[in-house]
């Protein structure tokens, strides 16, 4: 078994990270200029900003891109050589989920510790934070499940691939709303945010977020691992 990543994947990742960094830099450095007012005035609910939505959706778009870049034909060539394709998919899903979970837990725990150190004296609703963390985890797990099993769902259950993607998009929407309801906490614990925002956070955030930013770097490294294609007889 070996890992590889195509130039397309690296390029897509770099472009999206760059766009995010530029967007964040623009947001934090343009003062009251037109761009900032444009971004902050697009509101459907108090504290729900266009940027929050974009940032929340970005990683999943990236994720979908990564899946799509590999194409489906190759999956078919692999599938027909694996009579027990579902069980192999399950192992892929579990491996991916395990990796995600490890980094997510690391992120959540370290993030919470950091939050308590930095914001001593400020009240924090630990239970609601944990509840949000659990909800985000469930959403993330289901999304991963759908992404990994999309092809198999279409084949065995008979639903169109677009249906499972629609479900995924709905989950994304749910996550966007849920993250946007409390951007600060969501930014702290969201498994969506950590996938892409780290470089931007490191640059634009003040020192109190620096530790969090460093933690996000670790998470990003883990996330980058998940976009690698795993070659070999056991995985796809």
């Amino acid at each position: 078994m070996r890992l590889s990543v195509s130039r397309n994947r690296i390029f897509a990742l770099l472009v999206l990270i760059s766009l995010t960094m530029i967007g964040r830099l623009a947001y934090y450095t343009t003062g009251r200029l037109f761009i900032r007012s444009l971004l902050t005035d697009v509101i459907w609910q108090e504290s729900v900003r266009l940027l929050d939505i974009i940032f929340c959706i970005f990683p999943y778009i990236l994720y979908l891109l990564m899946i799509d870049l590999d194409g489906e034909g190759n999956r078919e060539l692999i599938a027909q050589r694996l009579p027990h394709y579902s069980s192999r998919l399950l192992s892929v899903f579990l491996a991916q989920l395990l990796l995600t979970l490890c980094f997510w837990l690391l992120y959540a725990v370290l993030g919470l510790i950091w939050f308590r150190i930095v914001f001593i004296g400020e009240s924090i609703n630990l239970m609601s934070t944990i509840a949000m963390a659990c909800l985000s985890l469930v959403v993330h797990c289901v999304s991963t499940l759908i992404l990994v099993f999309d092809y198999e769902l279409a084949r065995t259950v008979g639903i169109a691939k677009s249906t499972s993607l629609t479900v995924l998009l709905c989950l994304m929407g749910l996550f966007v709303v849920f993250s946007a309801l409390n951007p600060d906490l969501a930014n702290l614990i969201s498994p969506v945010q950590f996938m892409i925002l780290t470089p931007g956070d490191l640059i634009v955030h003040s020192s109190r977020y620096l530790g969090l930013g460093l933690i996000k770097v670790l998470i990003l490294l883990g996330t980058i691992l998940t976009i690698f294609r795993i070659h070999g007889g056991e995985m796809i």
Binding site: R81, L82, H84, G233
Partner: protein, 213 residues
């Protein structure tokens, strides 16, 4: 192997609200090239995807290599297919792509794969697939469909994009697969000459049924 390589009985398939097949029947035997003809959009590729296990239908039987596909989520064993344009990993060489696929079942060696590449006139060095022409990709797709001694070989328009020499070579390979290696070859082609000269049996898709010619 007395049973037919592929046996389809009363197959019905509906995709996206469109009925593609209505109680269609089809059979292909080992040692024969079986042709499938029909106009564009008639369902030739869908039938091949059903035989490959990529699409599921309903009916009495879809048996491929003695594996009943209608009541199983398994892919049929020992089937090689070239359907539409298969995807290869662009930044890997043709050899690496084939080695990757071969590593799943570990049935053939690198030397055998190199022999196939040489037979079809494809590079055996590290030239990436993204630099391949359409015809070269087609030949690579044909090789992956036959290289592991698959007993049922599905070739959907294999001669498309091939130059004259490569097309002639492919015709010879198809004939040998059936006559010499006793495999079942399922073939579609818009070149009626290919169907006539290569196929021992021909089926035509007409109004959601498959008619034996």
């Amino acid at each position: 192997m007395k049973n037919p390589a592929v046996l389809i009985e009363q197959l019905s398939v509906t995709l996206g609200g469109n009925q593609i097949f209505d109680e269609a029947n089809f059979k292909a035997d080992y040692g024969k090239v079986t042709g499938l003809v029909g106009p564009n959009g008639s369902g030739k590729s869908v039938l091949f995807k059903i035989i490959s296990g990529f699409v599921r239908g309903t009916g009495k039987n879809v048996i491929v290599n003695d594996e009943q596909l209608l009541r199983s989520t398994r892919f049929p064993p020992n089937v090689g297919s070239l359907i539409e344009e298969p995807y290869f990993i662009a930044n890997l060489s043709g050899l690496d792509n084939l080695l990757l696929l071969a590593s799943i079942k570990n049935l053939i060696t690198e030397r055998e794969i190199v022999a196939y590449l040489q037979k079809f006139g494809l590079p055996t060095d590290r030239q990436a697939v993204k630099t391949y022409s359409l015809g070269m990709k087609k030949k690579l797709a044909i090789i992956q469909a036959i290289m592991e001694q698959q007993t049922v070989v599905i070739l959907d328009e294999p001669m498309n994009a091939l130059d004259e020499h490569s097309a002639a070579l492919t015709r010879q390979v198809i004939q040998d697969l059936a006559a010499v290696e006793h495999r079942a070859v399922l073939l579609t082609s818009h070149q009626s000459d290919d169907i006539k000269s290569l196929c021992q049996e021909v089926f035509e898709i007409q109004e959601r049924r498959i008619i034996r010619q």
